[in-house]
Structures are given as structure tokens and as C-alpha cells.
């Protein structure tokens, strides 16, 4: 296998990064037009670090903290949703805008189509209840379990929150322990506290 990818002896065909960037952006656009892009993604910088945002044609499917490893998350999306994944930032313009407004304190509700396919069963049931906890409010894991129809499934409700594929947008950070302590969070305790403090302001 020839791995040099060059012609021998002084015969050079240069390809520069800017040209490739243009081609790659155009590929993403054409893939969307052709209905071939199953998962579009981008990252944004926020007060809780770099967030990976991924969407299917059905809606936002994943928000991931840097601590989860963005490459690992994309790998999981490739196996669980589809490997037809491209960096396509424009497909996530609305999501990025709403998150920016949220962190600026000018948005209290997200108005975005969501794709909850990464959560199933009781976990999904729990997640669909979370938006009912309003901005700046909190609820206990026990209350969320009860709202999801299984009042004794407190641990399962806690697991559903801790494995929420759409943190921040589906507000699992508003669910805390009955004693008032924050509890587990995918983005780490500091991120959870930052979100609660932001919403309390």
C-alpha cells in the first residue's frame, strides 16, 4: 500500500485547507438537500464549556458536554442513529441561538423540535415530564418519578436524569435530591450548580 499520497520526486499537487473547507461545507449543504444527512452536528462555546449539538431531521437528538468526549459521543451516534454524520453548523443555527440566549439570561424556554430516540421506556417518560418544571424552579427525583407514573421508581428517575441525552434543553438540572443537594449530573456538579445559579438570578 502506497501511503505517501504524493507523486515521486518533486511532482507536487498541493491541496489547501481553505479549498477543502469550501468543498466540505458544500457537501454538507448538498447532503441536506438530498436527504442524505442523518445527523448534523456542531459545537458551541458556553459558560459550561464546549457543547456538542447534534440533530436528526426530526430534531435535536444530543447535547453533550466536553467531559463526555465529543468524539466518543459522535461514535455512539454513528452506531445508534446512523453513520451518515457531517459537521453541518447551519443545521443547528436555531439551537445555537436559543442556547446563547439562555446563557445570556434572555430565554427561559426552548422552542425546538426534539428527537428523543436515544431514550426509551421509563427514561423517556421521565424526560418528557421535565419541561414542566419551570425555569428557576426545582423538583425532587421522587416528585419526577411520581409525575412519570411510578412514584416508587425514584432511582430509575434519577438514572433517567443522569443519562439525559439532551441536557440543558431538557432541564434535568432542575431535578435535585429531596435534601436539596444537587445530585448526579452528566456535565458534573459544577455545571449543574452554574445552571441553577443562572436560573435563580
Amino acid at each position: 500500500m502506497n501511503t505517501d499520497h504524493e507523486l515521486p520526486g518533486g511532482l507536487e499537487l498541493a491541496v489547501d485547507d481553505a479549498e477543502l473547507r469550501v468543498l466540505r461545507d458544500r457537501l454538507a449543504e448538498r447532503a441536506v438537500e438530498a436527504g442524505l444527512l442523518d445527523v448534523a452536528y456542531r459545537t458551541i462555546d458556553t459558560p459550561v464549556g464546549s457543547l456538542l449539538l447534534a440533530a436528526t431531521p426530526a430534531g435535536l437528538v444530543r447535547v453533550a458536554y466536553a467531559s463526555e468526549g465529543h468524539d466518543a459521543v459522535l461514535g455512539t451516534l454513528a452506531s445508534r442513529v446512523s453513520p451518515r454524520i457531517l459537521h453541518a453548523p447551519h443545521q443547528l443555527d436555531a439551537v445555537a441561538r436559543e442556547l446563547t440566549e439562555y446563557f445570556d439570561g434572555t430565554r427561559q424556554r426552548f422552542d425546538l423540535p426534539l428527537d428523543l430516540r436515544l431514550a426509551s421506556g421509563f427514561r423517556r417518560e421521565v424526560l418528557t415530564r421535565l419541561p414542566a418544571i419551570g425555569y428557576g424552579r426545582t423538583a425532587s427525583y421522587a416528585a419526577v418519578a411520581a409525575a412519570a407514573g411510578r412514584p416508587r421508581a425514584v432511582r430509575a428517575a434519577a438514572t433517567a436524569c443522569a443519562t439525559n441525552p439532551l441536557p440543558i434543553v431538557v432541564p434535568c438540572h432542575r431535578v435535585i435530591r429531596s435534601d436539596g443537594s444537587p445530585g448526579r449530573y452528566l456535565g458534573g456538579p459544577a455545571a449543574k450548580q452554574l445552571l441553577l445559579t443562572l436560573e435563580a438570578a
Partner: protein, 167 residues
């Protein structure tokens, strides 16, 4: 980590192979049509990617698609062109964005198709000669000879090539 070995996101395929495939497209078609060929290649690859066997040689697969797209584009150009126009002449008339590669493209465009393809797929696409032969037709030895003849001819016709020997 997921249990089944996952196929990497297509974005990784574009990152890893995008530059090489662009060189291949430029070598085979010249600058003007290379961008279209590159886009068509990766769009077709994206379409077929979920069905690609996990152990497939991704680069060989992409070069094969690029080869087919280049043929499509060459045929479409031939249909558009005036009957007497020489395709090689049309390719050599491509103006490079910065002029740097113009001479090499002219030299590549002047090669017979088989030599140009063998040079592009082996040296730029990174394929072994057996894979090159499978794409362009003929035997592995014929592919090796075509690439060697092509390089020898490029060295005669491309002025910079000879000057690098002593550096």
C-alpha cells in the same frame, strides 16, 4: 463505548480521505472539474456508506467512486464540447487558482488516460497496483507499467521534476 464496533462518522471519512481524493480528482480531471467530481464522489459515498462492509478498504472504495464520477464528467464534457475539441487540450487549458500547479496539470492532462489514472490512483490515491488494475481494467503488471510510464513521461515534460534531484 458501544459493544458493537461502530463504523466511524462519515465526517471522519471526509477528514481522512478528502485531501487525497481531491488530488486524485485534480490529477485525473484538472482543476475546473475536480471540485464537482470530489463533491459527487463524497455525496455518492455518503449515500452508500451505511451498507459499506466494516472491513472494506475505504480509500479504494472512494477512488473507485471517484473514477466513475470522473468518467461521467468527462463524458458530459465531451457531449457539450465541439466535435473537434480535444479533451486533453480542454483540460490543459484549466487555469489554476494560483498558477502553481498549472504546469503539472498540463503534463498530467497530456498523459494517455490509462497512465494518468494509474499514476493518480496509485500515487495519490494510495492504492496497490492490484486495486488500480481492478478499477482501470487490465492486469496488475499493466497497471504498474502504466504508472511507471506515466511518471517517466511526467518527469520529461514537467520542468520542476528534474531540478529536485540534487536538493
Amino acid at each position: 463505548m458501544s459493544v458493537t464496533p461502530a463504523k466511524p462518522p462519515f465526517e471522519d471519512v471526509v477528514t481522512r480521505h478528502g485531501p487525497a481524493i481531491l488530488r486524485v480528482c485534480r490529477a485525473v480531471l484538472g482543476h475546473a472539474d475536480a471540485d464537482d467530481a470530489w463533491s459527487e464522489t463524497f455525496l455518492a459515498a455518503l449515500r452508500a456508506y451505511p451498507e459499506l462492509p466494516g472491513d472494506a478498504n475505504v480509500e479504494a472504495w472512494l477512488v473507485r467512486i471517484a473514477h466513475n464520477k470522473a468518467i461521467d464528467i468527462t463524458r458530459a464534457a465531451a457531449r457539450r464540447a465541439a466535435p473537434l475539441a480535444d479533451l486533453a487540450m480542454a483540460r490543459s487549458a484549466d487555469v489554476d487558482a494560483d498558477g502553481r500547479d498549472l504546469d503539472l496539470h498540463t503534463s498530467l492532462a497530456a498523459l494517455p488516460d490509462k497512465q494518468r489514472q494509474a499514476v493518480a490512483y496509485h500515487y495519490l490515491g494510495g492504492l496497490p497496483y492490484a486495486e488500480v488494475a481492478a478499477i482501470v481494467g487490465g492486469s496488475t503488471d499493466a497497471a504498474r507499467r502504466a504508472a511507471a510510464d506515466g511518471i517517466a513521461r511526467l518527469r520529461r515534460t514537467y520542468p520542476v521534476a528534474d531540478r529536485t534531484g540534487g536538493t
